[in-house]
């Protein structure tokens, strides 16, 4: 299988603080890969490096075969990134926002139109899509951001805590949306979460990360079996303690 994301010995420091301490992992084409860990584990920093927002202190990261430092522009063309706390433009409607994204990614108006239609469908906001986004609830804002991330059918979608702060119903709908989308379009998804149950239900493979280091990595079912635990949460507690 070919790797869409290759992270090798990645180190990232902020001054004297080491946020990521030499982690390595590969995400293969068409899989949903989860980076799991508590707050401050280094998940967001790792994602920001992969999304070309931060420069690695050392190590290498390749996305779609392109180096994130030397070929950042090419990387940006094949990824779509959903930050943990992505905000919205207050005075722009959801529809205008999706249209802007479609036109930013696609030169051909036919492709842009298709992407926009997909975005409208993914958002599920119906007539509320034509309201200014400042009037949206937290869940609606997250839905429009997830739709924005997926509608361009990126080769790699990077989703940082896609359901953070959402109620059960919204979290469920977003999880289903991601699952269905990957099944239909076969894109690669790299997601992070500190919700172990969510990851268990979504991901093929996971890496458990704590204090900037990967504790274990592998298929969810194999990891559970291997460590003799009932679920990922128990595994995490076992490893951290």
């Amino acid at each position: 299988m070919q790797a869409s994301v290759e992270v090798k010995d990645l180190v990232k420091s902020y001054g004297s603080f080491l946020a990521v301490k030499g982690i390595s992992f590969n995400v293969f084409d068409g899989e949903i890969y989860g980076l799991v860990g508590p707050n401050g584990a280094g998940k967001t920093t790792t994602f920001r490096v992969i999304a070309t927002l931060l420069m690695p202190t050392s190590g290498s990261v390749k996305v779609c075969g392109y180096d994130v430092v030397r070929e950042a522009n090419k990387v940006r063309k094949c990824i779509s990134y959903l930050p943990e706390e992505a905000g919205v433009y207050r005075n722009i409607t959801g529809y205008e926002f999706l249209k802007l994204i479609a036109k930013t990614y696609f030169k051909s108006s036919k492709d842009a139109e298709e992407a926009l239609e997909l975005g409208i469908k993914l958002s599920g906001l119906n007539e509320r899509l034509y309201d200014k986004m400042k009037s949206y609830s937290r869940g609606m804002k997250r839905r429009i951001q997830v739709a924005r991330t997926l509608m361009v059918r990126p080769r790699v979608a990077i989703l940082d805590e896609p359901t953070a702060g959402l109620d059960v119903s919204y979290s469920y709908s977003i999880r289903e949306l991601i699952k269905d989308f990957v099944k239909q379009y076969g894109i690669t998804v790299l997601l992070s979460s500190h919700n172990m149950h969510e990851v268990e239900g979504l991901c093929n493979r996971v890496a458990l990360i704590s204090s900037g280091q990967i504790l274990v990595e592998g298929y969810v079912s194999e990891l559970i079996k291997e460590h003799g635990v009932r679920n990922l949460e128990e595994l995490f507690i076992k490893l951290v303690r």
């Binding site: 902020y14 920001r48 999304a51 070309t52 927002l53 931060l54 420069m55 522009n73 940006r76 063309k77 990824i79 779509s80 990134y81 959903l82 930050p83 706390e85 992505a86 905000g87 919205v88 433009y89 207050r90 005075n91 722009i92 205008e96 926002f97 249209k99 802007l100 994204i101 036109k103 930013t104 990614y105 200014k132 951001q145 924005r148």
Partner: protein, 437 residues
């Protein structure tokens, strides 16, 4: 791609009431201010040109005094001339208050005798000021002038000369003009009038400040909002260059600011044009290369000035984007914007007081090239001379300045660098706040 982002920027700004309400308020307030000021001036002029109620205390009681007062009472400017022979000042004040008099004229003893002896006569004038207005104390001057004319005419007739006293006082009809050497041009009025025109330069930094503060703050806050609302992270991962992202910010906020401040710009230009048009003159052609009815500030200079003010706004928007990029919230952006605007406007005050034609070449060219000082240089030199011959080149330099600033800022537009700078700025602010508390 860029077009879409600019469109987003314009929509996001123009739909925000916090952006357009100040424009509407200032558009409504400016005519109101003009109305209030002009009403005040009109009332002042009406007050001073209204016929005067004059209370005269004739302590001389001579034949000349009677003749003078009789002539004075026949003048249109004197509404009511009442004569009292009261020496006591308190009593006079009481009469003036009761009768609603504007001025008290006391003709001292010996008035007639002094004049007949060829000496100056003593009088005392008291302005009765009920409220302090712009022209409330001018009426005694009018009475003095009228009295001098009347007495002068009577004295000339007394000595057998049948001419007006004004011919003795002002025997010539002088037409005063000013020759502007740098422009080889004649202008009506004394050079003091020109000094007054030069004083209009005082308002240039103020006008610039009004226009540019709004542009800078809009650009700074709209960029800082991207940081604050956490939309910047998404923007930076879109498949477009950092320069394009900043350019869309610049052009978006500049467009909105330009629409909003266009009233200020055109109002100012019209003001300048009207001002120069009032100082036109026509005199017979002389040895000087003089064309009649030349506007003091020619249309080309006004065009340069307009372009320069627009480019200064663009530079301010560019500076605003830079400030916004470095600020992780709107509060920091506003805190930084204030002192930066002051710094940017400061050199204009230097230009205001200095003789720009005598400034050394390097400094002069720098002041012409910098977008923040250029409008001031053009405005000042348009009055006395003509703007620098290389002005089109300086205008291009001003545009280049904005683009270079944006290019430099785009180099900083990586999350790594931003986080470093923003952390430093935040710690400065925290330290400042700790010191204040």
């Amino acid at each position: 791609m860029l077009r879409e982002l600019i469109l987003k920027e314009v929509k996001d700004l123009i739909r925000d009431p916090r952006i357009w309400i100040p424009f509407i308020i200032s558009a409504l307030i400016l005519p109101l201010v003009g109305l209030v000021v002009s009403t005040g001036i009109k009332e002042g002029v009406a007050e001073v040109s209204a016929p005067i109620n004059l209370l005269v205390s004739d302590l001389d009681n001579g034949f000349l005094t009677k003749y003078v007062l009789d002539n004075l009472s026949k003048l249109k400017l004197i509404n009511n001339l009442t004569i009292a022979h009261v020496k006591d000042l308190a009593h006079l004040k009481a009469i003036a208050l009761e009768g609603g008099f504007d001025v008290i004229l006391i003709i001292n003893e010996g008035f007639t005798k002094s004049l007949l002896s060829g000496l100056k006569a003593n009088i005392t004038l008291i302005d009765v000021v009920k409220t302090v207005g712009m022209m409330s104390a001018l009426k005694s001057s009018i009475v003095t002038s009228l009295l001098n004319d009347v007495v002068g005419d009577i004295m000339l007739r007394y000595y057998g000369l049948n001419i007006s006293s004004s011919i003795i006082k002002w025997p010539t009809n002088a037409i005063i003009m000013t020759y502007l050497v740098p422009r080889n041009q004649l202008v009506a009025g004394s050079s003091s009038l020109l000094t007054q025109l030069g004083m209009t330069s005082f308002i240039m930094p103020l006008v610039l400040m009004i226009i540019t503060i709004s542009v800078l703050q809009m650009a700074a806050t709209s960029t800082a909002v991207e940081n604050e609302e956490r939309t910047l992270e998404v923007l930076l991962t879109l498949p477009m260059s950092r320069f394009d992202i900043l350019m869309s910010k610049l052009l978006g906020s500049f467009t909105v600011a330009l629409v909003g401040s266009s009233f200020n710009v055109f109002g100012f230009v019209i003001y300048f044009y009207i001002f120069s048009a009032t100082l036109t003159t026509s005199v017979p052609a002389s040895t000087l290369d003089f064309a009649p009815n030349i506007y003091l500030i020619d249309p080309t200079s006004i065009m340069y000035l307009t372009v320069s003010v627009v480019l200064a706004s663009l530079a301010m928007a560019s500076l605003g984007v830079t400030i916004g990029v470095l600020s992780n919230d709107v509060r920091i952006a506003s805190t930084i914007s204030g002192p930066i605007v002051m710094l940017v406007i400061l050199p204009s005050y230097y230009i205001m007081f200095v003789d720009t034609l005598k400034i050394g070449a390097p400094l002069r060219y720098l002041l012409y090239a910098l977008p923040f000082t250029q409008p001031m240089m053009i405005a000042k030199e348009s009055v006395i001379s003509r703007p620098d011959a290389l002005t089109p080149m300086w205008l291009a330099a001003s545009l280049l300045f904005s683009i270079m600033l944006l290019l430099l800022t785009s180099k900083m537009l990586t999350l790594d660098k931003l986080l470093r700078v923003q952390r430093a700025l935040s710690s400065i602010r925290r330290r400042k706040e700790t010191l204040m508390t």
